[in-house]
Amino acid sequence: MAVNIPIWPGSASFAVGDTPFGLYDTDSEFTSSAIKTADWCATRLGYPLTDIELQSVNFFTCFEESVSEYGAQVNTYNIRDNILSLYGASTGSNLTGQKVSPNFGGLIELAEDYGAEAGSGGNVTYYTGSLSLTTNQQIYDLTDSSIVTLESGTAGTNEIEIKRIFHEAPPAIARYFDPFIGTGLGSQQMLDGFSWGSYSPGVSFMMMPMYADILRMQAIEFNDEIRKSAYSFELVNDRLKLFPLPNSTITSKVFFTYILKSERSNPLKGATGTISDFSNVPYENVIYSNINAVGKQWIRRYALALAKEMLGYIRGKYSALPIPNAEITLNGADLISAAQTEKEGLITELKDTLDTMSRQAQLERKAAEASSMQEQFNKIPLKIYIG
């Protein structure tokens, strides 16, 4: 008995499992639409005037793929439009059909690197370290673990980057000489007794104009810089050079803040199990019954293009087919060519439509609308009030 593979008989019935992936088989609206779409596609391809060498499962396969393609395009658009707001969110919740509220999460995360470098936040920890000074030694090696103490890591082992060195002269205001009290630093001692030592003497502010205080502080700072070896330092590579030459009366330690380079270079700063890229944004397959009429029409047209392509491949598998005493060539190539053009057109159409709905496009349209509206309003004659 010769093999006889049945072809499209003119009608179809759907059962769960008739599609390859079974993504929508339990959606009653999908199953009824699958039957109708199969019938429609077969008719559009020429049935009943010509045989259609496809079976109902072929049409159902095209229909399922079409729904999935539609969902993939919509989801891709959603991911692209929302990715900055989705970075770091949980991967556990299905976002399909959900309205995603924009937020600054992703944007701030992008800016955190800058914050870390500027010392104004960021995602790299600033640690504290100290350097033990030796009298009359001006140059220090920061990789020497015997003199450098680090909050995290070990000097000379872990690469660090110094962010700030606390080697500064006492504020000029703290060395203020009150001309009215006339006892020099004695007034400072008095203010210290009232816990006002960090502030300018109250009496000075009471009795002297502000510019006099500022000029006096500048004089103190200029004096330090020009006449004395002011507090400063040079940090080149691992060597720290301090000014003035340390002595026991100045200080015994210099403190600094630093970061571990390994922490800055670590790309995995976020929590695990969160949205990290395009591939794990939790958009699932669309629910067919929730798709509107516009989408369903696109799906039908795409299913037809797929069915046409499939029929083209079937009819074109052999370049020539034998008939009694002759050979014929079928229209496989034409079907494939037409189907591919239709598919590309449909994808482009859908992408263009989605692109016009992006946040950026909507804002641009709103701006254009406002501009046009303003232009219209400008043409309205203004009333002139005389009174």
Partner: protein, 180 residues
């Protein structure tokens, strides 16, 4: 193990052939099968009064050649040949066997079959005689496409199928065969 030309593919071609020959072209001839039991023959196995079974309609692809005029000692005569290609599946399904001596009626001409050939195989394999299939080493491969018949136009008065020496009914365009 052949890779191309399986029974699944042959099924597609079978559908195509059926659609083309039966549904699309639908070019039918009448086939008169020689009834040997009712045909008397002479000493030499010849018969001038042959009997035929009732004709049946069979769709086929016809290649009708041009008429050729012959002039010899007996006078002027004409002849014509034609090639009739039948769908093998169609014949097999209806148990029709076409042989030399059978008569075909097409385009108001009777053709006597001179030669039958059934060697048009798709992928070069006849599934009925394929050794691999017979020995069940593999499934169906290949496809027997057609029976191609070569025939020549024969004189209808020799066939005893239609009245040729009497006037017919002018209102009847088609004369039913006789001598069936």
């Amino acid at each position: 193990m052949a890779l191309f030309g399986s029974g699944r593919d042959a099924s597609l071609i079978r559908h195509m052939n059926k659609e083309l020959v039966v549904d699309i072209l639908d070019n039918e001839i009448e086939f008169y099968k020689l009834e040997l039991d009712s045909t008397r023959e002479n000493l030499y196995g010849e018969s001038d009064k042959k009997s035929y079974y009732h004709p049946i309609k069979i769709p086929c692809i016809v290649q009708k050649d041009e008429k050729t005029m012959i002039s010899d000692d007996f006078g002027l005569d004409s002849t014509r040949t034609g090639i009739f290609a039948f769908n093998k599946d169609y014949l097999r399904d209806r148990t029709i066997i076409i042989e030399e001596g059978d008569i075909l009626l097409w385009d108001n001409e009777f053709y006597e079959i001179d030669k039958t050939a059934g060697s048009q195989y798709w992928r070069g394999t006849n599934p009925s005689t394929d050794l691999g299939r017979i020995s069940q080493e593999r499934g169906e491969f290949g496809f027997e496409v057609s029976i191609v018949v070569e025939a020549h136009v024969t004189r209808r008065n020799k066939l005893n199928l239609v009245e040729v020496r009497t006037g017919g009914n002018p209102n009847q365009e088609y004369q039913l065969p006789k001598g069936l």
